[in-house]
Symmetry: C2
Subunit: 341 residues, 2 copies
């Protein structure tokens, strides 16, 4: 399945998505945010299309966006049809809130004509009415609703589908995706919806998405945070990197510090992290506070430092190279990194 | 197994640990940090014992700490023996860096006399020398080393053991613990070691610990961050809460905002999060930016708000109760929360 130039599913790299928070009626603000998202590593971007007055903006955005644009539409099928005609690379609808299956069929037809896929995006907060009163666990409702919509789409001859079924709680989200993965042949868009603020949402998303990815479930992902969307992209990449699935830029190992640490490690690690964030090379850097695990970890890294009393012993590719005073640790680390790249 | 008054393993609640970053020779600073950790929800605290000059401090800390104190010792078995005599509730050693098995045996004997458990803490950064050159994957080395030490301990008649085998990468950590869980009957202390700064470390820990907990692996946990240790405890609780394993205080659902949002939601959600952090009640609060998923999520929460154009519609236990202007949303939410508690 292709979203613009990005392949999703079938073993393609798991694509990172996010969603703009700007007003879609303001194409220049939205495009500026999309460019920031692209710089952060976003690969597919979604924009809300809340009303017909946003369609001109959507068209301008689709024409100029460096990333494939997914039009996110609720309630009004006419907006989805127009979005398909105006250049959206994919539609996202929740068929349960489009009003009737006839209207859904009109959207399917428009997507087919435009040659673009549709995400069937089921969400615990907007489940189809028929499930409201059923005495099923939430994950069963989510999965059953998504599967039923897929069956409808395929009965119309449309199989260019991505599926999601998100809850704001991690456990039903995981369980719903396990069912979808077992029951459906389509690529899955994974994530925990409305996960919360940067702190809570990062943890809920990391756990939920991490558990699914570790089970081999998920073809594209979005981290949902009540925070600037670039932050969603940063978290998404860290989750992928943590499981050695995809990596973007350098990796930093740093110790938690303890009563053994004889340098002020937190600002050193934060400064190294800050400076590494500007590098695109996938170098592995270790910043360690003492001699217990320091030399071992520093040895495994491309470049490492194991701190001693007010000093740091630098390692390059496993070999100790020199000792520097605490104040020079960060600069010396980056000198060593420069010699590698 | 008991660490002071905290039961670990055998189905007991998964205990949250952290480690002090203060100098153990300074009992008052260390005790102050321990009290802050206890307030944050830490249940077992570890302190480094880097040398014999830290033993008096350790003794004072053990005597006055509100939490069971684990003495963390490397290299010098005499420190471990003394720590057992001076009131530590548990010892943590990596038998691989104690020097010889005779010395390990002396530690075992001291722990037995004191009636306290030992954590066999194997770590990728300080693997026993015999594994350095083996052509095994890291997780196999970690697990094999831990299992071999356990066999030694049991051959000495000592079974009051907790086991950990941490790497700074998530995948070998997960794989090592899966092996330990299959091979050993002892409680497991889980975590990703030297996970990094608050941002990266939170994600790596959430993914690694989350995957293990989702598989039913882990009896106590520590999140390792290059950040203040209270932060480790906050992350640990969020991970446990995300999987519905244990919860401390309220839960906040909040949406990521998008082009549909007609109020400035990020500061509202952050303010709600901040004010919720002072509550101990496990209330579920939803802060939602629009009418797509807003009413659905707000209805599932104990108290919720679904924002519209410059206003918020408040829900209490699923029932819409009133509409307030944007500026009054936070106060109104907390008034509703007060009516519940």
């Amino acid at each position: 399945m292709a979203v613009g130039g990005v392949i999703v599913g079938g073993g393609a790299p798991i694509a990172v998505q996010s969603m703009t928070t700007t007003d879609t009626r303001d194409p220049s603000a939205t495009l500026e945010q999309i460019r920031r998202l692209a710089d952060a590593g976003c690969e597919i971007v979604r924009v809300a299309v809340p009303g017909s007055d946003a369609l001109d903006g959507l068209q301008a955005i689709c024409a100029q966006s460096p990333l494939p644009v997914v039009a996110d539409i609720h309630f009004d099928h006419r907006l989805a049809i127009e979005a398909a005609r105006r250049g959206a690379a994919k539609l996202r609808i929740n068929p349960g809130n489009i009003g009737s299956m006839d209207r859904v069929d009109a959207v399917i037809e428009a997507a087919g004509e435009a040659g673009i896929p549709i995400r069937i995006g089921v969400n615990a907060g907007s489940l189809a009415a028929e499930y409201h009163d059923r005495d099923w666990p939430l994950f069963e409702k989510l999965a059953a609703s998504a599967v039923k919509f897929c069956e409808h789409f395929t009965s119309r001859g449309f199989e260019d589908i991505v599926v999601s079924a998100k809850a704001s709680s991690v456990v039903p989200t995981i369980e719903a995706y396990r069912l979808l993965s077992a029951r459906l042949p389509y690529p899955l868009h994974i994530g925990v919806t409305e996960a919360g603020t940067a702190f809570t949402g990062t943890i809920k998303s990391s756990v939920g998405i991490g558990v699914l990815l570790a089970e081999g479930i998920g073809d594209t992902l979005r981290v949902s945070l009540t925070a600037p969307p670039e932050e969603e992209v940063r978290v998404a990449w860290e989750v992928l990197a943590s499981l050695d699935i995809r990596r973007r830029g350098p990796e930093l190992i740093s110790c938690p510090t303890c009563g053994r640490c004889q340098v002020d490690l937190v600002p050193i690690a934060e400064e190294v992290q800050r400076r590494l964030s500007t590098l695109a090379t996938p170098v592995k850097v270790a910043v360690m506070g003492c001699v217990v695990n320091g030399p071992g970890e520093a040895r495994e890294a491309d470049v490492g430092v194991a701190a001693g009393r007010g000093t740091g012993l630098l390692f390059r590719r496993g070999v100790p190279v020199r000792k520097v005073p605490e104040s020079e640790i960060v600069d010396a680390l980056f000198e060593e990194i420069d010699t590698l790249t």
